[in-house]
Amino acid sequence: MEATTSNGKFKVIGTRPIRHDGIDKVIGRAKYGADYAFPGMLFGKVLRSPHAHARIKSIKTDKALKLPGVKAVVTAADLPEAANRLEQAGEMAINPHYLSMNILARDKVLYDGHAIAAVAATSPHIAEEALKLIEVDYEVLEPAMTVDAAMKPGAPILLPDLRNREEGDKQTNVAQHYQFKRGDVEAGFRAADYVVEREFNTAMVHQGYIEPHNAVGIYNADGQATIYCSTQGAFDVRSLSAQVLGVPVGKIKVVPAEIGGGFGGKTTIYLEPLSVLLSKKTGHPVKLVMTRSEVLRASGPTSGSKIKVKMGATRDGKIVAAQVWMAYEAGAFPGSPVGAGAMTILAPYTIENLQIDAYDVVVNRPKTAAYRAPGASNAAMASETVIDELAEKCGIDPLDLRIQNGVKEGSPQVVGPPFRRIGFIETCEAIKNSDHYKSPLSGPYRGRGVASGFWFNAGMQSSATVNIHTDGTASVVTGSPDIGGSRASMAMITAEVLGLPVTDVRPLVADTDSIGHTDVTGGSRVTFATGMAVYEAAQDAARQLRERAAKVWEVKPEDVELHDGVLSLKEKAEGKAPMTIKEMATKLARTGGPIIGRASVNARGVGPAFATTCVDVEVDPDTGKVQILRCTIAQDVGKAIHPSYVEGQMQGGTAQGIGWGLNEEYFYDQKGILRNTGLLDYRMPTCLDLPLIETILVEVPNPGHPLGVRGVGEVSIVPPPAALANAIYRAVGVRMTETPMSPPRLLKAILKKRAAEETQSAAAD
C-alpha cells in the first residue's frame, strides 16, 4: 500500500474515510437489482438458442401459454423495428437495429444462447418449465467461430445486410477496417538493426462480474414504465430500451439499483426491455434474472483476437518502425473494440514510422460489450511482448527501453494529436525504483516480467446537485451508478469544497427522473467527469452560501469567503462574527430559501492513464502451471481522491488481467456451442491464486481537471497478460503468443523447446 501521495493543500481529498454506503453492504441490507420485489410480481425466463447459427423457421408458443401459472410469452414479433444507425453508448458504439435483434432474435439465431422468447409466470420454476414447451423449428447453418473462419473466402455470412465497401459491394463478415499510418514503415524497418515479428491469438474472455444481469419492469396503465436494474448507466438503459421498445425516452424511468460489478459489461441492455414488454402484457411487475450460464453464453464478453506485430529497433534501442495487423471478434453484431485496440497498441511509444490495420469481424459468438479498457489488453499482450524481445536483442533493460522510447508531454499520439502532461515515464521509473524490481529473484524456473499499458479514459456528460440542509450538512446527488466506491469520492470532493467533515455529506445516486442526464459509469470517467460536475456544483453551493452570508451581513458577496466550513468577511468587522455553514443553514429560509448547487458538464480535459506492472512467476516445468510470486503495479492516477479505492481499482484490474493471461477463455466446441458455461470451468482467479498486489500511486496531476483527477479504473488490466508472458519467458525460455497461457499451452511450448534443444545437442554431438 505504498503511496507517493503528497496531500498538499487538501484536507479531505487524499484521506481514506469509510464509504457512506458501506454499512448497508456489510450487513446485507444494500439492494441490488435482483433484491427488488413488488406485490404481484411475476418471474420471467428467456428461451435461448441451442445452435450457433440457424434460421428460425417457426416459433410456437401456445403450449407454453397453456401451462398453469404462465401469464405471457413474447418473441421478436412483439418488438418494433429499431433504427439502423450507430450511436455512442459509453465506450462502445451501439446500433439499435442490431441491439433489438440481440434482445430477441428475428429470423436468425447467431450464437449459442441467443435469446428467442421470454416467458412470465408466477414462479421462476414454472417460467422455466414453460420454456421447454416453446417449439422452435430451426434450419441449422454452419457457424463462423473465429476471425480466421469468418474472414476467409466463402465463409458463412452472419448478417446479409453487411457489405464490404472496400472490395466492391460484397456480403462480408468484416464490419469495419481502420487504418493508422505515419511516416514510412518500409524505410523504418530498413533502418532497424533488429526486427521482431510475431503473431498472437487471444481468447474471448468475460468481465466475470459476480452479479448476473437483472431487471424488474413495471408498466403502468398510463404508458409509463419503470425499470429497476443493476446497470452502469441508467440513462443508457433508458434511451436504449426506449429505442428497442419504440417509445419516447420520457415514457421510461430507470432506477439504478446497487450494482454487483460490471467492468463494462453492464453498459448495454438485455433483460430490461423484456421486463417492460412482459409487464405490459400481464399488468404485473416482472422480474428477470440471468443464470450464470446465461451470463456467459449471452451477455457481452470481450473479443478474442488475432494480432500480428512487427517492430524494429536500432542497436541503441530506438524503436524506428512498427507494423500491426489486428482482427477482433465482434460477436454476432458489429462493434468490437478493435478501433480502441488499434489506438492503444503503440500508444506508449513515440514511433516515427508506423502502420496499423484493424478489422472488426462478426462471428457466431455473443455480441461483445465493453470490458475494462476495451481492446487494450489483448493489444498490449502483442506489442508489449515484442517490446520485451526487442529489449533483449538490444541488451537493454526492458524498463529502460520503455523510458527511452516512451511518450511524454508533446509526443504525438498514434491517432495524431500530441499528448498533454502524462505520467508514462514516471510509472516506468516508479517500477524501476521499487523494492520489488530492486529485489533479486532467484531459484529455478522463476522469472520476472514487466509490461506497460495505456488507456484513453473518457469525459462525457455528467450532472450533479449539492443540497445544503437546514442543519448545515449536505447531500450530493449524481447519476453515476457507484460500482467501486465512487460515492465516497463524490462526498469527499463536496466536503473539500465546502469545508465540511466528510461524514456531514451524504452521497446519493439518483434515478433518471431525479438528476440531469449522466453518461455511463465507464471509461474511468466517474471521478473525473462526475467529480468535475460535483466540484462545480459544490462551488455553486459555496457561492450561494457566500451570497447569503453577504445578505446577513449586508455586504457584497465578494467580501465574503468560505474556508473550512466557516463563512467570514475578508476584512474583519465589528458585530459580523464568522458563521459556520451550520449557523448559516438556519438562516436560509430568511435569506431566500434552500440552497441547491448544481452543475452539468460535457467534460473536457480528459487525462489519459498509463500503468506499468512487474510480476514474478514460478513455472512448474512438468505441468506448465504458473504461480505468481509477487506483483507490483505503478499507475499514473493524476490525483487520488480516495487512495484506498484507487488502489482497489489497480488491484482489481491487475487480478482480472492475470486471469485473462493465465486461465480464462471461452471454450466453444466444433459446433459452436459454449462448453464452459459456469464458474467452475470459466476460471477466474480465486483468493489462493493471487499474492498481495502492491500498488504505487504515481500522481501526475491532470491539467484538465480542477483537482488533477485522471480516470483510474481501467488501465490496470492492460499490462498483466504481457507482463506474465515476459516473466514466463525469463522463467522457462519460451515466448508465449497465445492467451490464456494455460498449463496445457505452456507445457506444450516447454516440451517443444526441450525437444528442439535435444535435437540440437544431438546434432552437435
Partner: protein, 166 residues
C-alpha cells in the same frame, strides 16, 4: 407443482417457520420467501460463494441446499452477523480496509471469514486465502479482503468481540 412443506428452523437466532416447495433452494427460501436478500445469487452451482450461509456453524452454499433440508437447523446469514447496530469486527474491518468495491461478494465472504475465525482465531495469510477460495471476488483482487480478515483476527484477539456466537 409439488406440495409445499412447513420447515421449522432457526435463522439468526430466531425460530422461523416457512413454507416451501422441495425444489426451492435454501437461498431461494431466504431471498424470496423470507425476504432475507443479503445472501446473493451469483452462479447456482456452488462456484462463487456469494450465497454462503452458516448451517450449524459451517459455511455452505445455500444455492446447493434445499430449503426443506433446513428443518431443525441453525442458520446464520450475513444479516445476523452484527448485533443490532454493533458491527462484527469483520464487518468493521471490511469498511476500514475498503475491502469491498461493488459489494456483491461481501456477504458471502463475511460468512466464510466468520466460519474461519470461529475455528481458527489466528490464521495465517495462506489459511485466510484457503478459507476464502470458495468465494469469488472480481473487484478487489482479494488484497484488501485478506488484510481485513487478518486485521479482524488481530482485533478480536485483543478484545474486539463478535457480538454473538455466530
Amino acid at each position: 407443482m409439488s406440495k409445499k412443506t412447513l420447515v421449522e428452523t432457526t435463522i439468526n437466532g430466531e425460530a422461523v417457520e416457512f413454507l416451501c416447495e422441495p425444489r426451492q433452494s435454501l437461498l431461494e427460501c431466504l431471498r424470496d420467501v423470507l425476504e432475507l436478500t443479503g445472501s446473493k445469487e451469483g452462479c447456482l452451482t456452488g462456484d462463487c460463494g456469494a450465497c454462503s450461509v452458516l448451517v450449524d456453524g459451517r459455511a455452505v452454499c445455500s444455492c446447493l441446499m434445499l430449503g426443506v433440508e433446513a428443518q431443525g437447523k441453525n442458520i446464520r446469514t450475513v444479516e445476523g452477523l452484527a448485533d443490532g447496530t454493533a458491527l462484527h469486527p469483520l464487518q468493521q474491518k471490511f469498511l476500514e480496509h475498503a475491502s469491498l468495491q461493488c459489494g456483491i461478494c461481501t456477504p458471502g465472504i463475511l460468512v466464510s471469514a466468520t466460519a474461519l475465525l470461529n475455528r481458527n482465531p489466528d490464521p495465517t495469510e495462506q489459511e485466510v486465502r484457503y478459507a476464502l477460495a470458495g468465494n469469488l471476488c472480481r473487484c478487489t483482487g482479494y488484497d484488501k479482503i485478506v488484510r481485513a480478515v487478518l486485521d479482524a483476527a488481530k482485533a478480536m484477539k485483543s478484545g474486539a468481540r463478535p457480538n454473538r456466537a455466530a
